[in-house]
Symmetry: C2
Subunit: 418 residues, 2 copies
């Protein structure tokens, strides 16, 4: 009886360079099962697309366009930072979602996002049951921050890790060429967890190779200690390459640089740690410095995506559809590590509520005692995730990224008054 009902897929939160590989995995796997799954609709701008009944009809896209999603960064159907609250507080929204799903005969809901989104998928599942609407709800992990528990890693992280490691390696070589530039600071993402900053440590061959100092959100920033470490590094190694998480905090809990803006989830918008640290270096040490802020470049850098990451992102989307076909509900596919070297992994499963709203920070044993570097255990964990180069095709000197038409399905309900 569930046969031939439609599938709804939505992307949530900050996009990654491989979230469209997951979308590709979802849509291609659904298309390979035409006797079991009808059409795949994608939310225009994530879950908000369902609320507004703006459902992108992916059936209107060619097989070539869908295949090209595998190598296209960003969120092909649009994403959004929008958190549904509790079932009581946001009752009207949850009911609207189910009404839209009913109007378009959605039998499967696949939500591609981080911890917040797994929470939402879980609540949608509960509401559907309470409304007697048959709906298979599944999550698919995604976040550059790598902060979901249980899964070995999150699709999106491996590619930003590779970008940050390569950028640190390259900038480190550049700085070493310029004897007058003593300090280089690279600011990377990572609000609460230092995984991305940690990945820069893969560029270091030894303690005197860049990066010399990594600043993690997990370690309280002490300006005096930092200044001493920069001075000692410059005197020892001739220069100092610093990689700083955007989420580095002082002992009083304040971010080293806050922009004062908050997003829809209530998170402070960060940025500006690098120029702040540069001011500290100039004011207290007088060294010539340079600084860079990677921001969106790091998570959009599909041109240097990790092949392992792309493969896992696709596999997660494929697995979610296969789980739905197997009648699995309220879960998400995860990556299970079998061995570090050679890296072997398989697809596993976890309950949505195991993953929802839990932030996986860097464990203490991954950070060196001085708080400024990564340990061998951390390298053993991270290194497999950046292996392989999955280059996009090029045309006229630039990557040829997919441009889906994003045709909306005809609406069947009154406009949403949300």
């Amino acid at each position: 009886m569930n046969d031939k009902r439609n599938l709804f897929y939505a992307q949530s939160g900050g996009v990654t360079s491989v979230i469209n590989a997951t979308a590709c995995g979802v849509i291609e796997t659904a298309r390979q099962n035409p006797d079991r799954i009808g059409n795949v609709f994608a939310g225009r701008n994530g879950i908000v697309g369902a609320l507004r009944e703006e459902l992108i009809d992916t059936g209107k896209e060619s097989a070539e366009t869908i295949a090209a999603l595998r190598h296209t960064p960003g969120g092909a159907f649009g994403s959004v930072r929008y958190k549904l609250k509790s079932v009581v507080e946001s009752a009207a929204e949850y009911q609207r979602l189910i009404e839209v799903f009913r109007a378009h005969d959605i039998g499967t809901f696949i939500y591609n996002g981080g911890g917040d989104s797994m929470d939402t998928a879980n609540k949608v599942s509960q509401v559907a049951r309470s409304m007697d609407y048959p709906l298979t709800c599944l999550g698919v992990p995604k976040t550059v921050d790598n902060d979901l528990p249980i899964t070995d890693t999150c699709p999106g992280f491996g590619s930003v890790a590779k970008y940050v490691a390569i950028s640190t390696l390259e900038a480190g070589i550049d700085v070493a060429s310029m004897p007058q530039t003593k300090v280089f600071i690279l600011e990377v993402m990572g609000r609460h967890a230092g995984w991305i900053a940690a990945a820069s440590g893969l560029a270091a061959e030894n303690r005197d190779g860049p990066p010399h100092i990594i600043l993690f959100p997990e370690i309280t920033f002490d300006e005096d200690r930092f200044v001493d470490e920069v001075r000692a590094t410059v005197e020892r190694a001739g220069g100092c390459v610093i990689v700083a998480s955007e989420g580095v905090r002082r002992a009083d809990g304040s971010f080293v640089a806050e922009s004062g803006v908050k997003d829809a989830f209530g998170h402070a918008q960060l940025g500006g740690v690098a120029p702040h640290l540069a001011e500290v270096v100039r004011g207290r040490l007088g060294y010539k410095f340079h600084w860079a802020v990677a921001d969106y470049l790091q998570r959009a850098a599909r041109h240097i995506a990790s092949a392992v990451d792309v493969e896992q992102a696709y596999a997660m989307g494929k697995a979610a559809v296969e789980m739905a076909l197997d009648g699995v509900h309220g879960k998400l596919p995860i990556i299970v590590r079998l061995s570090d070297d050679p890296y072997r992994w398989e697809v596993g499963e976890a309950d949505l509520d195991q993953v929802a709203n839990v932030e996986k920070k860097m464990p203490a044993e991954y950070i060196t005692d001085d708080g400024y570097g990564i340990t061998a255990a951390c390298r053993a964990y991270l290194s497999p995730l950046i292996q392989g180069e999955d280059y996009p095709p090029y045309e006229n000197g630039l990557p040829r990224y997919a441009k889906p038409r994003n045709v909306l399905a005809a609406s069947k309900l009154p406009a949403w008054q949300g």
Copy 2:
């Protein structure tokens, strides 16, 4: 009689992702002429290495290491920002240079740099002649800024152009996925000439595709006009991607963001245009924004170098040695464009003093009338320079860059008292 004398090569100023490809061209071509050229010495940290008699003996490097320089960013032998003044003011330095050259039987001096360095090479040539020291002086063009006259382009520029165009394309796709982020600002290099910022325009397929606004040093920054343009773009296109040269100036001549630091050439150290513009956007428009500063990442990004640029960088180094063998003196090899599409070019020659101290800015016909975009003529010029992807080899997920041993030749003179 000049047979078997040695060659001295030095890198000057900011390094690029392909200056080592030029070094590779110099050294490999010299090695192919063992009956005419002795050893190749490289200045440790550029011309300062000659003054200090710190001459790297490249004869100690394996053929594999030299070949790997072709795909290695940064300056393999160290560069420096150090400008010799006039022959009168810096007489002692010029004389010291010639003494070092005499001590090591240097018959050819090849200086790889920008306009300042071509000027230095020219002066060294004059001093050598006045001191009756037989020395063939040649320059090789290098600068990410693309601001040398006469040559079609400067090795180093095509790769930073490719990096900036790809980064803008990717960030633009990312921003388009995030309906809440209205403005993204990318700050790129370009102190006086807007060539690098212009290259971001290659990412745009039409006027409603990113980048929507390019800010050139050649165009006076008018904050009110800028704010109006950002607002109009957000209202029309849903978001606005801005690429800003670090060298953007106000009507009074001040840089939009000056760090207050000056380098050895007396140039102000810039940085911080992007966060400044972000503040303007927030304060006057209230839009949610993100910003990135590429800084060294852009010029070190050998992982996505332009194949055309790498080929030209190597060809320039090769040509300089061949010119020396042909008895050419006081000149530099240049790139001569024969056609845009298909791009055809050949190696030409120019006099050092034609290139020295002249900055080639963006011509008016390359900038759209509103001052915020590039014209079709500009695209026709730029596009050939980013063609092809010259990927480095990878090992364990990271590029395998060369690590020359950089063994110094035994010194023969008293220490320099400069």
